[in-house]
Symmetry: C2
Subunit: 746 residues, 2 copies
Amino acid sequence: MRHFLTLFGLSGCRLSVPVSVFSTCRRFSQEFFKAEVVKSSRKVKAPRGKLIPTFSKKFSARISDYLKNMASPEIEKELAPLRAAVKESGELVRSLKENGATKIDIDRAVIELKARKKKLEERELALAPKEAAFDRLKLEDLLKRRFFYDQSFAIYGGVTGLYDFGPMGCAIKANMIHLWRNHFILEENMLEVDCSVLTPEPVLKSSGHVDRFSDWMVKDVKTGECFRADHLIKNQAEKIMKDKHTTDETKEALKDVLARLEGFDDKDMREVIHEFHMKSPITGNDLTEPIAFNLMFPTVIGPTGDFKAFLRPETAQGIFVNFKRLLEFNQGKLPFAAAQIGSGFRNEISPRQGLIRVREFTMCEIEHFVDPANKDHPKFQKVKNVQLTLFSACNQMDGQPAVVKSIGQAVAEGTVANETLGYYMVRVYQYLIKVGIDPRRLRFRQHLANEMAHYAKDCWDAEILTSYGWIECVGNADRACFDLDQHFKATNVKLTAEKKLDEPKTVLVTEVVPNMALLGKKFKAKAKLIASKLSQFSNREAEEAATSLEKNNSLSVMLDDEEEKMDSTMVSIRRFEKKVHVEEITPSVIEPSFGIGRIMYAVLEHAFRQREGDEQRNFLALSPLIAPIKCSILPISANAKLVPILDAVQDVLRAHEISFKQDDSSGSIGRRYARTDEIGIPFGITVDFESEKEPWTVTLRYALTMEQVRLKVSELGQAVSDLSSQRMTWKEAQTKYPKFEANADS
Amino acid sequence: MRHFLTLFGLSGCRLSVPVSVFSTCRRFSQEFFKAEVVKSSRKVKAPRGKLIPTFSKKFSARISDYLKNMASPEIEKELAPLRAAVKESGELVRSLKENGATKIDIDRAVIELKARKKKLEERELALAPKEAAFDRLKLEDLLKRRFFYDQSFAIYGGVTGLYDFGPMGCAIKANMIHLWRNHFILEENMLEVDCSVLTPEPVLKSSGHVDRFSDWMVKDVKTGECFRADHLIKNQAEKIMKDKHTTDETKEALKDVLARLEGFDDKDMREVIHEFHMKSPITGNDLTEPIAFNLMFPTVIGPTGDFKAFLRPETAQGIFVNFKRLLEFNQGKLPFAAAQIGSGFRNEISPRQGLIRVREFTMCEIEHFVDPANKDHPKFQKVKNVQLTLFSACNQMDGQPAVVKSIGQAVAEGTVANETLGYYMVRVYQYLIKVGIDPRRLRFRQHLANEMAHYAKDCWDAEILTSYGWIECVGNADRACFDLDQHFKATNVKLTAEKKLDEPKTVLVTEVVPNMALLGKKFKAKAKLIASKLSQFSNREAEEAATSLEKNNSLSVMLDDEEEKMDSTMVSIRRFEKKVHVEEITPSVIEPSFGIGRIMYAVLEHAFRQREGDEQRNFLALSPLIAPIKCSILPISANAKLVPILDAVQDVLRAHEISFKQDDSSGSIGRRYARTDEIGIPFGITVDFESEKEPWTVTLRYALTMEQVRLKVSELGQAVSDLSSQRMTWKEAQTKYPKFEANADS
C-alpha cells in the first residue's frame, strides 16, 4: 500500500556503490572536508603496521555498516579477500567443533579467526571515510542541549513523532525555506499558493488517500498494542538472523523476505509472521492479522458533526483544486509551475528515528503543469552537463551499483523519462548541495515498478545517506494527469488547458446570450456578474441551459451561494459553427516534493565535526547561508571602555540585517568561541584592547578554520554580509584584510 | 464564555470618537492620502450650495454608518442640529397622521421632512472622509479576480471559513511575516520557536480550552441547523428594530440587549430569544436552548484511537510548555521574550465576513516573560513620547470618546498597567503603520472587566476600522502567571526562574552524590548522563530519592524512556546548610497576539483607491515593503531590438533580489500599467525606443502618482532596491533622476 505516495516511505539500506561526484557548487563543502578530522582516521593512519589501538565493538560495527552502504568498488576490492579469509576461518572453527576436534586444535583455529577478523577490521578502519565514524548520540546530545529541536509536550510525557523547534532549529528551518523560495519560486517564476490544512473528505477520496493511504499494522492480541507490520517483520527477521541457533536455511529465507518486504501485501506479511513464529516484541504474545490503518488525521468541520475532514497528508492537492485559478492567473498559458510551502500530517503507527519519521512536518511541493505531448524544458540545455549519481531501476534489479552520469545523457538514453523531470532533478541536486548536503552522500534512486503508482510515468527519489541509512528526502515524480483527472471526475469541473492546434477545425457551438436590458432591470449591479457567468458556460452547460429553458422556461445560476433565476425573456440560446484553433488538454504534472525536516536532519549530520586534537569539542560546520546566527560578538573583557565599540559593531550589523549574538559571559574567549562553534555560528567578532585605537578595529574569526583577520569596524558590515551570503570566500577575505595571529581559541 | 481568549472575538461597532493621530513613521501613508481621490468627495465639493447629485440609498447609508463609527467631535457638532431637525419633522408627520390631519397638511409636512433629510445627507457627504465611500464589493471583485485569495475547495462546493491564498496574497502574507520577524524577533532579540499543531488533550485541559473555549449556539429544532447564539440575537434584534410595526418600547429594550450582548450568558440569551420570539432565520422554526459548542477541532493521535488531541487554537501554549528549555537557552536570565509564527484553528459555528472570521489562520504571538514584581522595560524611555489613540475601559463606560495620549503619560497615570505592556503597544502600533494601516483608523481599546479573564491584569486590543466596523487585530494582554501555573499544577514540573535576593538566606539542601567509578562500571557511556540527571534533582526529588534508597535500596532515573536503576553503593545522600542568593519566581507573561489575516484584509481595504477622473480604474496603494511584486517590466513593443535591454534589466533586478513581473502582452502601455497598479506593484519599468541609445536607459514609474523618471539600466538595481525598502523616497528619486514626461498612462 502507500506506494502511490512515497515521499515518506523510508527506503531502508540497500547495498549499492555510489561514487564521489563532482558538484558545480560545492566550494563551501570542500573547505569543510579539509577541516574534518575524526579520531579514528588519525589514530589509524599513524601506527600503520604497528600495534593498532582497539576500538569499541560498537564503533567497529558502525564503520563496517557504513562501508556496506557506501563502499566504492575500489574499497570493495580491497576488502573482499579479507572477508573471504574470515569466512574460511569461521567455517573451519565450526567444522572442528562439529567433528569433536581437540580443544587445542579448536583454540588454535579460533586465534587464527580472531587475527583475520582483526585484520579486516583494521583495513575497514583505514579505508573508511571520516564520516563513517559519526556518532549519532553526540549529535543528538548537542541538538537537545542547545535546543535545536526536542520532543513536543515533554513536560506532559511527550508525544512520539512530534517535535518542537527551538530558536536554533527554527532559524535554520527559516533559512532553508528562504533559500528554497529564492531557488525555486523566484528563479523559476513559480506561482506560490498557501492553501488550507483542513481538507474535506471528498477531496481526499478523489485523490485516493481515503482508500489507499494506509500502512498495515498488527496488534498484540492481548494488550492491543499496535506495530507497523513491515517494521515488525524487518526487526524480528534481523533478530532471528543474528541468533546463533538459526539455521543457514532460515537465514537465507529471511534474507529473501527482507529483499522483497517493500512489495509485500497483507497476505505475504501474514504468511511470514506465521511461518517464522513472530510475536509481539514487548510481551511475546500472538499478533493479529495485518489490518489496514489509514494514516490521515480525521476531524470534523462545523458544529453538526457530519462534515468529515482530514488534515492534509500533502500540500499537493491544494494546488490541484486551484488549477483553474492558477491557469487563469498565468493568462491561460502552459507550462507553469505552482509551489506550496506548508505543513503536512501523517498519523504514523509508531514513529521513531527522530526527524526522519514524524507526524507533523513541513513540506515544499512543486506541481509543474506541462503539455503531456511535449515535456521538453526550455532551460534543460543549461543544465544538461550536470553529473548526478543515478541508481536506476535496472541497476537495482541487476545488482549493479549507482552510476555517475550527465542528466543530458540520462534523458537521451531514456533512463530519466523526460527533460522536465531531468531539469528538476538537477535543480533539486543544486538546492541540496547549497544547504550543505555532502554530494558524496547523495543519490537519485529510481522507483521499481512495484513501488510506483500505476499512473506514474517515472519517479526518482533524492536519497541522502545518514546514520539511519539512505533516506528519501525529495520525491521527483511524473504523475501524468492522474490528479487533475480525478478531481474532474468528482466535481465535473473541467481542469484543462487550451493548446493551439496545428490546423484549425470546425465545431458546433452553443451559447447563452443575455438580454442585458432585462437582466439589468431584475438584477441591478449583479447583472454583469451573471452575464459573465453565462459567458463562461461550456458547450455542455449551454446545452443543459437550453433544455432547462425549453422545459421549464427557467435558468438558474449560482452567485455567491445564492440561486439567481432567469426566464427566456432575459436569455436566449444561440447555436453556430465555429472554426477552432485550440484543443483542450489535461496537463501532465511533474512533482518535486521536499521533506524539509529530513533534509535538515541530514544537513546537521553532514555538518557535525570534531576539532582535531580535542575530541570533546564538537561543532557544526554549517554553510553560512543556513547558519541560524551569522555572527557572534565577544568582548575580551567587561571593561566599560569597550562598550561604545560594541555598540558601534551592533549598529553596523543591524544596518546590514545580519543576525548576531553577543556573549558577555565571563568564560575564557576560547570557551565562548567553542559555545558559538557548537551552534554553527560561522563568523566571530572579538573586541579587544587594540580595538580602541582610532580607527576602531576588531578581529573576525572563521569558525571552520579558526583563522582570524583584523579589520575596521566601518568595513565590518559589508564584509560579514558578503561572507554570509557567499559573495566573498574566506580566502578572499584573508587576502583583503591583515591576518590576526593571537590564538584566541587556546 | 470565550472571554479569556479574545483575539478573535469581533468587538462589533462601538460608538466612539477617535481623533487623527500623528505617527512617527507614516511618511508613506501620508503620500498615499494625497493621491486618494474618491468620486463622492469630488462631486460634493464642487457644487456646494448648488444642486447636489443624488447618490444611491446604499451609498448614503454607508456614509452615515461610517460617520457613526468614526465621527470626530467637530463633525458631530455640525451634524447634531441637522439630526434634531429631521427628528422634529418626523415626529410632526407622525402626530399629524395619528390625529387624522388633512392630506394637504400631511403632504406639506412630508415635503419638509424630505428636505431636512436631504440637508443632513448632503452635510454628511460633505464632511465624510474619503474612505467612507469605500465599496467592499469592488475590492472583493478585484481580490477574487486577481487571485489574492479565494474560498478553499470551491470546485467541491467550498467550505465556509477556509481560504486559499493565491500568488499575490501569498506574497503579501510572506512579506508581512518577514517584516514581523525583523520588527520583533530580530530587533528585540526574541527566541523564536516552531511547535506542533497537534496538541494532546491534557495540555489544553490545563490551559482552560477544553472546558471554556466555546461559543453558545442554538439549533433549529426541526432541521438541526446551527446558529451562533449571539450573532443570531444581534441580527434578529436589528431586523425587529427596523420593522415599522415595532413599538418604541420594544426598540428601546432591544437597544439595551445589543449594548449588553457581549456579556450575556446562556440564561440571558435564552430569555431574549424567548421574549422577542426569535426563530430560525431560514425556516422560521423554533430554536433550542443555547448549547455550549467547543471551538477546537478534535482528532486522535496514533492507531489505538484513545489518544485524544486537538488542533491548537493558539500558538501560545507551545511556548509555555517549552518555558524551561527557553529559560535555559537564555542562560537562566529574565526577562526574555519568545515568539511563534504559525497556524491556529478554530471551529467557528458559522463563519462569515471573509478573512475576518476564519477556521484556519496564521498567528504571530509573543510571550514576554518578566519578573512579576518589576514590569519596567529597559527601552520604554525610547518610546514614551509616542502618541496612541487609547479607548480606556473608563471612557467606554462613561460614554466618553477615545483620546490621544503619549504612552508615557498613560503608564504614569495607570491607564496602561505597566511599561512592558505599554512598550509592546507602541511596537504593535509601529508595525501596523509600517505594513500600511491608516493611523486614523487604528485605536487601542481596553477590555472591560466582564471581557477580561479573572487572572488577567490588563488587556488592550489594537482595533482597526474597516467596512466591517472596528475589528480586533492584535490582542495585548498581561496574563500574569496563569499559564505557567496551570501547566505546573498539571505536570508537577516547576516552571520558575531564579531571582537574585537582596540579602542571602540560609536553607537546608539535600543532594544525591554519584559514585562515578561504580556508576561508570555499570552504565558505561550513560553514566555521565545519569550523573547529570542526578545533579538536576530539586530538593524535593533528592529527599524522595533518599527515602527510596532507605526503603528499597534502589533509586531509578528515566533516560530516554528507559528506567536506569542504582543502589546505595552507586549513590549517596548528602545534606547540608547553604546560603542562597536567589529565590524561585513564576514569571508574569505579557502577550501581544497578532491575527495576520485580519491585518492583511484591513491593509487591503485601507490601500484600495480609485484614479481621479476614472472611477473604473481601481488600484492598490500598497507600501512597497509588503507589495507582492516590487516592479513590473513593460516593453513598449515586441521589437526584437528591445530583447537584450529587457534581459539586462532582468539581470540587474535579479542581482538585487527584486521580485518583478514582465508583461509582454499586446495591450496598450496604459492598459498594462492599469493591470499592474491593480495588484499593487509600486514601480514600473518601461523599455522604449529611446532605451537603445548608449548607455541604455529606461523609464521608472511610481504607481501612486503615475510620475516617471528616466535612468540608466546600470543605476536601476540600486534605485529600485532603495525605493522598495524605503531607504529612498520617490521625491528623492525625482531630484536624482530626470523627469520623463510622456504620459504613458493615457
